[in-house]
Symmetry: none
Subunit: 231 residues, 2 copies
Amino acid sequence: MIYVVFMEPETPGNIGFLARTMKNFGLDHLVLINPCQLEHEAYYQSMHAREIIYNRQEYNSLPEFMEKEGIDFIVGTTGTAGGSYNIPRIAITPENLAESLNIQGDIALIFGREGDGLTNHELELCDLVVSIPTHESYPILNITHAAAIIFYELFKIQKDYPVEDLDEASLDEKEGLIEYVDEVLGKLDYPPHKKKNATIVFKRMLGRAFISGREAHTLKGMFRRIRDRLD
Amino acid sequence: MIYVVFMEPETPGNIGFLARTMKNFGLDHLVLINPCQLEHEAYYQSMHAREIIYNRQEYNSLPEFMEKEGIDFIVGTTGTAGGSYNIPRIAITPENLAESLNIQGDIALIFGREGDGLTNHELELCDLVVSIPTHESYPILNITHAAAIIFYELFKIQKDYPVEDLDEASLDEKEGLIEYVDEVLGKLDYPPHKKKNATIVFKRMLGRAFISGREAHTLKGMFRRIRDRLD
């Protein structure tokens, strides 16, 4: 299942536009994090997708939502994809997302904030980050137009690709692996910021690679052995 | 040159959203056919694309525009693509449009009307008609979201866009990383077949993860440190 998560919306009309584009592309789970009052405008702009707004969930914070809903995989979005030196903002295209996303688990697609986007800290929580290729003269899309393009790419690919039943690694399996990696990194003489970057890179790589349970197991074995040898 | 033509707009905000998404994807010629008063809202929603609205052209009718500007090729858009029996509404996808459009001549991309779309008669004037694949439960997109998706597909095919240009790791960089991983694996007490599996898993993961050169560098640093500590 895909949850569409709108971080701290401030403009009721944008909540409506988002709900409408969700329904246009067959999505229906809307989550609002610490939203403004919805007002008439949200319902008005959603047009024939009002039920998505009626059925929305609200949470006070992103971590609260993730914990309560048991999310397996988090996709962040940014209009300011970093150059290659801003690791939390290294992004893939919506097309690559659609090609690689396995929609078996519970996935959160995070949009927002309207003014400032997601913080680096929030992006670090994400398994991968998506950014839409744009013209350099004005790279920042309106948030609901960006969402429409990402939903469109995800929808478009469903028509041609048979769903593959790949035993994707669970959140627990991936977290267990990351713990081993962290333990190993802790035993190397890393300056703290480099250690943090290495963890993020490893996590992102896992996120983008959609590894199976079997692969997670093999990688865990590898890092367990490394840890044991370093001790 | 591509002219973006908005038929009889009634909502100033939509003119603004359209101008913004045009600039996001490198388009700048806006034509309004028999528009409403623009009001502050049009400029407000265009954000940093106000100059597109200032520089717009206005005409009373589509034929008047086509004659005055000497348009070579007209692309209509519709949310209600007919089955194969409604000939004016037989449509191609935005993706097919992007693949087949030759942007040498003067092309008009026609959007609108907000409520009713283009008439059959107007669609008959078009050289081709585009429609966006959508979920059957709600096929009608907001007009500026539809425009954003079509502009995105036209832009995407031009290839030189920043996100994908993002310095994907070269084959050399990835192979260099795999060599370090192999060296590390060689220093662990792996049974040979397990060692081979671990190499394959790591390589596959890299292959699927679209890592950047910067990320390959970070991971190489990590495995170099592990190797040095194991020695």
